[in-house]
Symmetry: C2
Subunit: 274 residues, 2 copies
């Protein structure tokens, strides 16, 4: 196994960092990842990275900037499903799905890496640990969407809004995009409304209430959370769903277990239990 080429030390990209929190990456894996991200593309704010209905093309990895994943109804009503942050993957299952059921639109200028979907297959075949880590990150995203579903279904406007702000604060903190309770939210109130299933007027009212109660401050796109604890309590925020507790390298442990290839001989006896 050639050590990762000394002539170009792979740099730590956001994806790399994200996966690292669950695996101690080998040099070979690091090299593979940074090679994956070699083809870099820049796009301006408010441009589409993917459009609902179009055939999937490349897989993309967000390296820098913000985007939203959203779905629209034929009559124009729109729902933001999630915010796409550095390290997140767009269209990971291009190989499998025919066409996109959602759009991805940039909020800021972004930098993304592109590669053909086949490389995901290649990765599953050659780098099972990376594959598992990617599958994990997909599951985490689902958990976030499920929590948002709980918000839209069962939380009031005030609770939802508080919850989202705390969620973003937490997520941004883990990627060093927030410090000490304040961060930049490159988002109009319309987008916020579309993320929370509210009207733009009502989002405005709700933000006002949060400001009046002193929980947050807003100037322009800069938001400051004055009292995270209380805001979290207003939003009934329980960070369980973010699965941040990087379970002490569980995947690592599991993979480094005995190297036996799993048996596969049908109704084989033995080894079962627990």
């Amino acid at each position: 196994m050639t050590r990762a080429s000394a002539r170009s030390v792979p740099e730590a990209t956001p994806l790399w960092l994200k996966l690292s929190s669950y695996l101690i990456l080998t040099d070979e894996e690091k090299a593979y990842l940074s090679e994956l991200e070699r083809n870099i593309l820049r796009q301006p704010p408010r441009s589409d990275l993917l459009q609902q209905g179009e055939k999937y093309r490349d897989v993309r990895v967000m390296r820098e900037g913000w985007a939203i994943r959203h779905k629209a109804l034929p009559d124009g009503r729109r729902q933001v499903v999630n915010f796409v942050l550095p390290g997140d993957i767009i269209g990971m299952y291009s190989t499998l799905f025919e066409s996109a059921d959602h759009s991805v639109t940039t909020l800021t200028a972004v930098e993304v890496a592109c590669f053909p979907p086949d490389r995901i297959v290649e990765l599953f075949r050659g780098f099972p640990r990376l594959a598992a880590a990617l599958a994990w990150s997909g599951a985490r995203e689902e958990a976030i969407v499920a929590e948002r579903l709980l918000s839209l279904g069962r939380r009031t406007a005030l609770e939802r809004t508080a919850h989202l702000i705390v969620e973003l604060l937490r997520r941004l903190t883990t990627v060093n995009m927030a410090d000490n309770g304040h961060f930049t939210l490159p988002v109009t109130q319309e987008i916020l409304a579309d993320a929370l299933g509210l009207s733009i007027v009502h989002i405005n009212r709700t933000l006002r209430r949060l400001r009046d109660s002193g929980l947050i401050e807003l100037n322009g796109q800069r938001i400051t959370v004055n009292d995270v604890r209380q805001l979290a309590s207003v939003g009934q925020f329980d960070e369980l769903y973010l699965h941040l507790i990087r379970a002490p390298k569980r995947l690592e442990r599991a993979f480094s277990g005995e190297e036996r290839r799993p048996h596969a001989g049908g109704a084989g006896e033995g080894r079962r239990k627990m």
Copy 2:
């Protein structure tokens, strides 16, 4: 490669069938899957398969029956995230996540298979094609949840309800649990309300409207969809998100491509390009 043991021809389980729609399973893979499902457990209706907050234990595969995946707020408000049908997996990422952020509760008597989470790791290591297919099915689930988010955020009560009914009809049809527009929905109106983010009273009103307009019929838990087209149009249902068009064995094709192990030597040149 030992052929799948002749002495016990593996039976086609729902999971098996599900994955088959995206891969032509090899005998070895079939054997592995059916061995995975060897340890079978039965549970009565209205019992928990998983509880929010508890440590993950076994991975479970639904073989028969219905369940719901739901999340609750501390004050008791509850949101049903999805319906769990045969072939669906519960707690697939137990290895990675510390504790469950949702509960799973049976609606009918169910039959599930259980196995320890390590076997997922084993599977990633030894059966990349199965791993990819499982990751796919996770992505599909996310797509369903995202669509439900769109419903709760932007569809009216009538639209949501219509949409859900069509969704269930479609999903059940693919697993032969519905025929010709009617199926059994083992669900109280309370559960429906929790799935759609509505009050129980309003669900009742909404079902009445659907019945009055002749789009559906209800008797007990038996539901009949009289006019799928129109119901789908009321719900602005676009089945894109279900990703049913089993893209002509795309994964199959991708995997059966050249067998080369991916290179990994860092900034290697060449081979990049489509």
